[in-house]
Symmetry: C2
Subunit: 331 residues, 2 copies
Amino acid sequence: VKRKERSISEYVEGVLASDRTILAQAITLVESNAERHMAMAQQLLQQLLPHTGNSLRIGITGVPGAGKSTFIEAFGTFLCERGHRVAVLAVDPSSSLTGGSILGDKTRMEQLARHPRAFIRPSPSGGTLGGVHRKTRETMLLCEAAGYDVILIETVGVGQSEGMVRGMVDFFLLLALTGAGDELQGMKKGIMELVDAIVINKADGDNKKRAELAKAEYNQILHYLRHATKGWKTKAYTCSALLGEGIAEIWDVIQQFMEVTKKSGVFMERRRMQMKDWLYAMIKDYLETSFFAHPIVKQTLPSLEREVMDGKQPVTMAVQQLIEQYERGAR
Amino acid sequence: VKRKERSISEYVEGVLASDRTILAQAITLVESNAERHMAMAQQLLQQLLPHTGNSLRIGITGVPGAGKSTFIEAFGTFLCERGHRVAVLAVDPSSSLTGGSILGDKTRMEQLARHPRAFIRPSPSGGTLGGVHRKTRETMLLCEAAGYDVILIETVGVGQSEGMVRGMVDFFLLLALTGAGDELQGMKKGIMELVDAIVINKADGDNKKRAELAKAEYNQILHYLRHATKGWKTKAYTCSALLGEGIAEIWDVIQQFMEVTKKSGVFMERRRMQMKDWLYAMIKDYLETSFFAHPIVKQTLPSLEREVMDGKQPVTMAVQQLIEQYERGAR
């Protein structure tokens, strides 16, 4: 039997009442690419907007194997036990390609997944980077309206997704391992200048000493780099997500960060600029998507691109040709 | 008396004959924003295209005070004396705003400016970043057609211009001073991962020891960062542009770079990708410029932007509204 579709007011009431089933369904609505669903989702968001923005938004990145799941499990559980309500979202660029989902997997965070104060949602699959951006941001808003006061957004440090996540969080954390040199070379360029803290995980057992060394190394490098947030000095820390050591200290750091940036106005200014940047990113995304999907462009561009790459046609002339043909066709 | 306008074939012949006056006039044509000039410029470039691409394109960046002019004077003169023909161009983001020109100032490179094998052209002033990009690239092509086999493109390490310059050169050099920490924090984020060499200038007199220290520091940081070019390890070097010391060594490094990257195919692959990236950048520039300059958009966007920043309207809804109004108006 097909489930009866909910009305917008049912969604609004359900989300505000923090009904997990309805929240999950509202997220599915926001993630849908069907036009009717998108229209409904926007009305829903419009009504929920006054109830959003009250969370602390934390991004967490790191190479595969850095222990992101274990860290989120430990950190999320720690926060839940202190009375917070924690939503875990994921931005997984690879899932757009494979259609699968690596991050935000509940089976990798069993303890947190069972916690009544936690809500875990895997990465939206499929679609463009712009689409994933919108879906993640709107899911975040739904979670805030449902009363989650800490949002953790997980991503892998390999591509364009870090910039996107940096653009939607207040605090951005890089989870690292010992052996900074080799590891950083596998990461996105400039990643260290995007984050507000570097946490060296797995500082336990035989690894403890090496983790301390890595911390010193990272702090030395950070000394020469630009900091991601005005008035905040990005530093390296250690923790053992496995043993739960250092987790409370990281929470202290984040609270200090909040205090400093809220007092200086940097916090609110960043949030406002993030909204503006997102607005412009969406507009540009629309412009490009509709242009590059146009039949005339799809037909003309490949050969023009080849001529340009082979040095047979000046770029400006190629662009002029393409646009003339496009504008003639669009009329 | 107004100068009689040259024909395209006069320009072509003049540039290929390396006539400095005609080259300068051809660049003025390329820099013009008048529609008739732009059409002529494209025909000119079309005809010159087979004679381009034969130079070594070197970008030079560094904070104000790093001694870029002195370095280019010394390096350029060194190359001219060894038989090369050197063109010096500048990309100056500030000149777009102020209408003035700081870089590529001939009075700061007197010796080089007088050299018969050198050609210095200051930054094109005014216009968008995309416009400056096009003008600089096309000026570079004109200089290549005129037989200049080393193109030096000077820029300041403060904004978006480094990405642009990186996108048009084969080798990118960061000119630095001693006291790496303080200096780098004033530079563009991720700049060290954009360059193929860091040259610590002013390694002379009392400063020599500190320059050596800075070199060691930079090399240590570079160890942890990603390299800009596949198969090439970015390292730090010292020189004294004032005394002409270390200049020959830097030229050796660049020649090694050329050998390695040409052999591996990275050199040609980068050039092809640069053309492709430029093509797409120009298309996007056109799309954005024509959208944001549209009267309906200019009228609607400011209030939508405010509502979005104040959290009064969901971003997706604002974008949909804007685009609906735009499309209705464009029909």
